[in-house]
Amino acid sequence: MSASVVKLSAEGVGKSFVGTGGRVIQAVRDVSFAVHENEFCVLLGPSGCGKSTVLRMIAGLEDPTTGVLRLDGHEILRPDRERGMVFQSYTSFDWLTVGQNVEYGMKLNRVPVAERRERAAHFIDLVKLTRFRDAYPKQLSGGMKQRVAIARTLANSPSLLLMDEPFGALDAETRWNMQELMVSIMDSTQTTVVMVTHDIEEALFLGDRIVFISRHPGTVLEDMTTDFKGGTRVRRKEDMLTVPGYAEMERHIMRLMREQGAEHEDEG
């Protein structure tokens, strides 16, 4: 998409968990890929292939068993504000209003009150929740809660935004709105994004780069760039369907998905 300054790199990353009864489960093995500055990278793959595990390691919430992850060349060792994460489940703090939720991260990092207010107002406006600034999360719908989480993370100005199936629990129409919202956010902020999804359309619509992870134990099967979009982001979802090359790429990924899924069934 832009000048190829590597922002995030995974070098031979593997992760094993010790399951019940001391059995070792290898979630991912030898995952390597690079994400460039201002790029929107999508991790795609069948269920259980280790997408969340990779994302959690990038966040610093899990340590890799092998290999290294680097952000701006520095090894990732623990969670910090540089890598903000939006989870699939709702994570709004029930005891804080929408405004306080969005200010939360900045408050942790001792951003002066005036600046905090201003930035929070800006991002609440960006996710179109200004009317609900003083409402508690219990008064919000699922999609609105997720927008609070996104605004809260963005307002904290992370240099890398991580999202684990952030729109998975939403209905189709809300999901489109959120995806289009993400496109406009990408246009107006300078962030690099790594997002996990298993929705192919979503991956094609949002992604500049799509890293396809194979079935369990996950490893990078294919590392693609969505060149068919010609370096610009499509702003409306339905417009994407007519972009030349879209159908071809979707078909390619669907075949990958089907292959991986089928192997999975054989195994079970």
Partner: protein, 273 residues
């Protein structure tokens, strides 16, 4: 939240966990008590039970008035309340912070939990003889008994509730730059606090139970002691008046906790309380 416009519109008696209009709820609560008192009066009028063993309600009320007017019963009540409040406050001061830290950090849990669990299974009243030997006959052994009876259960309850705080909330804070201390104070504590207040409400009831045991076994003042004195003179009406007062006090404290809960945590859905 209560909404007078929709509240009394359409409701059924047996809908799972649906709220019912508040006047119906209050009516039901009062009805329960009315039926109880009616049964009591009827059994007395019918002569099925001896008036000495089960005095009618009006005699009990008269006894209560007399106790208060002539035998300084208010002083006994004050002593009992004082014992409950002081020992319960001390138990909370230890149990709440410890329970939270145990629930938050596995290392702290591993250190304290085997100890706490064992003590939880020792019936507190079994300590009465030794407490009397250690602390004599003043307030101290009663306070100690109430403390022992409550503190270990409360630690466990608070710990379990703290373990129940969703990991995603903690991780969200970590990825926003929160350090250990900040996560504890800005996520774990506020997330668990409503449940802590509920646990305190439940344990306060237990505290009253131990209070009466302590006062019946070894005390010269307090509600329980009054009841033991009354037994010596076969004043069943006074004994029942004592039970009545304990019941009313329990109800009052329970109500107080509910009000505090509502005031402290306005952001919680009414249904989830």
């Amino acid at each position: 939240m209560k909404n007078p416009e929709t509240e009394s519109r359409r409701w059924r008696w047996f809908d799972y966990r649906k709220p019912i209009p508040s006047h119906v709820a209050v009516g039901l609560g009062v009805a329960g008590w009315l039926i109880f008192f009616c049964a009591w009066i009827v059994s007395d009028l019918s002569g099925m039970v001896s008036e000495l063993l089960v005095p009618p309600p009006q005699k009990v009320v008269a006894a209560l008035v007399e106790l208060i007017a002539e035998q300084g019963f208010l002083g006994d009540i004050a002593v009992s309340i004082y014992r409950v409040v002081v020992s319960f406050a001390a138990a909370c001061a230890l149990a709440v912070p410890l329970g939270i830290v145990m629930g938050a950090f596995k290392s702290v849990e591993s250190f304290f939990n085997p100890f706490v669990s064992a003590w939880r299974y020792l019936p507190a009243p079994s300590f009465i003889p030794i407490l009397l030997m250690w602390f004599g006959t003043g307030d101290a052994p009663k306070l100690a008994l109430l403390f022992i009876g409550v503190v270990f259960f409360l630690i466990t309850l608070v710990m379990d509730h703290t373990r129940g705080v969703r990991l995603e909330l903690i991780e969200t804070s970590l990825t926003l730059g929160g350090n250990r201390w900040q996560v504890l104070w800005t996520v774990v504590v506020p997330a668990v606090l409503p449940n802590v207040v509920v646990a305190m409400r439940q344990m306060l009831a237990v505290s009253w139970t131990y209070l009466v045991i302590a006062e019946i076994v070894a005390s010269t003042n307090g509600i329980g002691a009054m009841m033991m004195r009354a037994k010596r003179f076969l004043h069943t009406d006074q004994i029942i008046a004592g039970i009545l007062v304990i019941g009313i006090l329990g109800l009052l404290f329970d109500y107080l906790f509910r009000v505090v809960h509502r005031l402290l945590f306005p952001y919680i859905e009414e249904n989830a309380r």
